[in-house]
């Protein structure tokens, strides 16, 4: 049966076929049944804002498929993309647990299926099911370590080129496909968004990518970026 955006929709967590590969969702059936009874499943188009930095926490979103960018902004309106979340991640957990405004904003960057759990239901789920509590703690711990890696890169990288090289190498390690043309990455972010991930301007990102392309270190075809000189990029990274 056709589904919106041709996404493979997972209606119930207990019968979800991909949950074993998702950190948070890989729980025992009683916990998943409890989660099924309190979650609301929706499919969101690209560009949907799930919550905004500073907003009172309404609950959490569990990403079933698709990707969501998490951003923070300065008082002058500059934006930093903190990370891009994927399937199996729980968004808004720290705000919901602490009962404080969301620290980040969340926006889908491709059609995305999400399960929403209201704050009170989420807290009840955590209290009643230690396994859900443990998996949430594991996720928070993972987010903490990932944020520390970003702090290191933002604070110690000496050039913008180094920051961009590290970002691309991270993508290669996570989701790169080996092809005869090099490591293929599907980049769904605009140059503006890539700039927001490393704290620079769109113009700088465009200039560095063009330079690397000229030097045949990378190649770009549509939304595909091919890394042709992985070692050269690695040599640029000092952190």
């Amino acid at each position: 049966m056709p589904t919106p955006y041709n996404l493979a929709i997972h209606n119930t967590c207990s019968d979800c076929t991909v949950r074993e590969s998702h950190t948070f969702c890989n729980m025992a059936r009683p916990t998943l049944t409890a989660m099924d009874s309190v979650k609301f499943t929706s499919v969101y188009p690209k560009g949907s804002v799930l919550f905004v930095e500073g907003e009172a926490p309404r609950g959490v979103f569990v990403v079933c498929s698709g990707r969501v960018k998490l951003t923070t902004s300065s008082s002058e309106g500059r934006t930093l993309i903190v990370r891009v979340a994927g399937p199996g991640e729980v968004l808004g957990a720290s705000g919901a647990i602490l009962g404080r405004p969301y620290e980040l904003s969340a926006e889908t960057i491709e059609p995305t299926q999400l399960n929403f759990i209201g704050r009170d239901d989420f807290l009840r789920l955590l209290n009643a099911h230690p396994e859900a509590c443990m998996h949430t703690a594991e996720q928070l711990s993972e987010k903490y370590h990932s944020a520390q890696r970003e702090i290191r890169s933002l604070g110690l990288s000496q050039t913008t080129g180094e920051k961009l090289a590290r970002l691309i190498l991270d993508w290669c390690a996570r989701e790169g496909d080996e092809t005869p043309r090099g490591i293929r990455l599907q980049v769904l972010l605009t140059h503006e968004e890539i700039a927001q991930m490393i704290g620079t301007t769109r113009e700088t990102v465009t200039r560095i990518l063009s330079d690397w392309r000229r030097k045949e270190m990378i190649d770009i075809k549509g939304s595909n970026l091919f890394v042709r000189a992985h070692q050269k990029l690695s040599d640029m990274v000092t952190v």
């Binding site: 520390q148 702090i151 000092t238």
Partner: protein, 157 residues
């Protein structure tokens, strides 16, 4: 020397002002559990609690003072990019998930620290299940503090 039932190993007589300690004024299960099992010590400025890449040995509860979180590059450059203050627990995430430390923690100003070793911490988690929700709360605080730090580094201009 022992004070209020805590094990104290430092040769310096410790006068931890528990009234001003965040851990003492709040009543969460983790805080009373850790207070009962910690080793208190005064750490002078410049002393290092643990090094980046080291396996975690336990958690440090900061009662007073500040601790620099220092990150280093492959070429040896090192920079304090974040700090931890009274009320925070250092090393919690590494101990919880048993991962090497992401940074070197060095005392910035003389600090009163409580130490709970990794085995005791995990034992407490098993015997005091209510503590798990507090771990969630503290990890949430830590994650938010990281985002604030990232914002300060990348967007402060």
């Amino acid at each position: 020397m022992s004070q209020r039932g805590y094990k104290v190993t430092s040769i310096v007589a410790i006068e931890v002002n528990l009234v001003t300690s965040v851990l003492a004024v709040e009543t969460h299960p983790i805080e009373s559990a850790l207070l009962d099992h910690q080793t208190l010590e005064v750490w002078p400025a410049g002393r290092t609690l643990f090094y980046e890449g080291e396996e975690p040995r336990g958690v440090y509860v900061i009662h007073s003072g500040t601790v620099d979180l220092i990150f280093s590059a492959k070429d040896g450059r090192a920079k304090a990019l974040n700090e931890a203050r009274a009320g925070q627990i250092i090393g919690l995430s590494s101990v919880f998930s048993h991962r090497p430390h992401d940074y070197t923690a060095t005392v910035h100003s003389t600090s009163n620290l409580g130490f709970v070793d990794e085995a005791t911490f995990h034992q407490l988690l098993e015997t005091t299940p209510e503590m798990l929700f507090d771990v969630l709360r503290l990890l949430s605080e830590d994650v938010n503090a990281c985002y604030e730090c990232m914002r300060d580094i990348a967007l402060a201009k």
